[in-house]
Amino acid sequence: MAQSAEEMHEQPLLAGDAVRVETDGGAKLVGIVCGDCEAKVFPPVPVCPECMSENVSEIELSDQGSLYTWSVVHVAPKNWKVPYTAGYVDLPEGVRVFAHIVGADSDKLEMDMPMFLTTAVLGQDEAGPVESYAFTPVAK
């Protein structure tokens, strides 16, 4: 029998409201769309930064985007597992998402390459493993 989403992820994902765990354990990024000016924002916020409207509703964002830039980080606060690759992924909704890039050697990464949403354990804190959304290159 398949594990429930809760069993697959020991702790809640770090991103809180910004990520929704599916019944199969997969993840969806969550943002908002403004009901008045149609601005899209990630992570979710209660008020639109464009027009100050509070008429905002949650939307699921695309699983796929393109890698705008990245850096392999060797020095970071101690809860992170170094080295890690951090980058910005541009989604078709016009939203840029900061994310860990996993599942590929950094020398295999290319500017603007397609990326796909996943989840990964990124570090460790007092409560246990730190897990969140991440992006990984789309298999060629």
């Binding site: 910004a18 601005a39 970071a76 500017m111 990124l122």
Partner: protein, 379 residues
Amino acid sequence: MREVSVIGVGMVPFAKYREKTLAEIGWPAVKAAIEDAGVEKRDIEAAYCGSALGGMMSGQRVLKQLGITGLPITNVENACSSSSSAFRQAYIAVAAGVYDMVLVLGVEKLTKFGGGTLPLEKEDFEVTHGLVMPALYGMRARRYMHDYGLTKEQLAQVAVKAHKHGAKNEDAQYRNEVTVEEVMEAREIAEPFTLLHCCPSGDGAAAVVIASAEKARQYTTKPVRVACSEVNSGKYVTGFRDMTTPEITVRGAKQAYEEAHIGPEDVDVAEVHDAFTIAELLYYEALGFCNKGDAAKLLEDGETSIGGRIPVNPSGGLLSKGHPIGATGAAQIVEVVRQLRGQAGNRQVDGAKVALTHCTGGGISGFDHGACSIHMFSV
């Protein structure tokens, strides 16, 4: 608005003062600035203190050491732009005629954090996901290298130039020259940066006394005029932004040049916010010293070295002089005032009449930078 002049400057060498308190680090800079101005402490009508991580009442803690108390002291936090923003507040107060003479102080003790990357605000979403300042600048560098063909060797040249200048500055934290090979082979921090691409962590303080031009003439025959004073916040962008263009600096520079009636071609010397090597190149372009994509050539041609067309960071900049963040803006002003007075010793930019300081910072999601301050000075 009245004309405002700088009449006194002072700083303590940037270094690691682990055994000293913030107050102990700060007071010698203030005393030096007051003595340099040739004024009495009772002449100071108000004080503005910039510190990003100094904690509550940084200004009062420093100034009580010298008995400069009972006056209005305002503490200003604006990340790396803290003391340049404090200078802006002081400038407005004097220009508006509220005070005739005001003290500006910048002070920071980063060694209290024990090393590593600068602690950032944990409420910020990207910070909770592992954003650190070297990574943010590293991502800018990566995109710039891709878009404009910048090489790692060219990037390393920024650090080589910084240390060449800093070696001549007795207030610099690092006074050793470095080679391209040493920069490239240092330990990795956030690719494409090694340690020598990154400003060091450290402590320090700098102070400036400003006065109305009329008041200044009572104390000096060579006041340094404040030609413009500008502070901006970044524009929050939820979508895509071009990380090779520091929009806050582009916007601020335009305003500063308009206010000063001075163009980039008129600037004789500049201190810019080279927190990481890529930053200095981005700011050559943003400040109009060269066209977009030409920054590496400007550096390679020696135009931004002492003796070149527009020497940048003769002090050694953040990379070599150091970057106790809240003190940096005031320290940049100390350097350019010394340059404009002809007091910069063996790093003097000959005949400097117009100077620019640029201080920006703050890693927050959705901003190029949180704050940016640009000042210009002339004699």
